[in-house]
């Protein structure tokens, strides 16, 4: 199994970052403006990018500490069976977000693309918290001229 991992240190509290991971409004500020369904464990979040996009079921939530999703639905294909987690850890004046997108069957060009794109969106999360303005889709930084 292959895995994408990232870490960003954000000048903000674990509590405000946690909120940006568990509500439609919060997720819309940094990943995609078209987010719906976020809620308690068992809820299914629909992230849409120009109509299409992944669904994730919330499988774990611990206030100000961890959020874990399991991919559900059929697209994108290589994401089937994968999980995403965000762990929060405050240290000094910042909160680290430890991110993982796990259980990829194998590394691929598409996984490499997603790795870079997750980094771009995590920097967007950081900016959303620190400056009030992230870069969610459709205002995201493009890393592929065909997508």
């Amino acid at each position: 199994m292959a895995e994408i991992i990232h870490r960003v240190g954000i000048a903000g509290s674990a509590s405000e970052i946690y909120k940006a991971l568990i509500t439609d409004e919060g997720l819309s500020r940094w990943w995609t403006a078209d987010t719906s369904g976020a809620g308690d464990v068992g809820s299914i979040i629909k992230f849409r990018f120009d109509g299409g996009g992944p669904d994730f079921e919330v499988v774990e939530r611990k206030a100000d500490s961890i959020v874990r999703w399991k991919h559900c639905g059929e697209m994108p294909g290589p994401w089937i069976g994968t999980e995403v987690s965000f762990q929060l850890r405050s240290e000094g004046g910042q909160t680290y977000v430890l991110f993982a997108h796990s259980n990829w069957k194998e590394p691929s060009d598409f996984m490499a693309h997603c790795s870079t794109k997750w980094a771009v969106f995590l920097v967007s999360l950081k900016e959303a918290i620190e400056t009030g303005k992230g870069k969610p889709f459709p205002d995201d930084i493009h890393i592929d001229h065909d997508v």
Copy 2:
């Protein structure tokens, strides 16, 4: 062994991207302004960030196609034994850079930090080629308030 992979699609030729990977001047435009020693296979490139930083030996170079480095020296510790590669592939109007930082002994918080930071620098490479101005150290985007 753990691995970081990334991919960016750049509106530029493989030839100009290759040049940004094999010369001090090119590398200084997107990774760190303090780069010296780049040259043929066997040369050792010193990348410096406020004085310290890694050395890499060039172990493979194929024009407009691949560049591969092997870490040498003692720092940062977790990079000992690791390799970095850039594969270039032109497709349509863009050139993909497939990046890998391989042979990490194990995943870690530091590896997660490096994964995000490599993405930031690969976007810097993209901007250097597409707009003429990247964000190499010391003008890089910070992702940790302690570093």
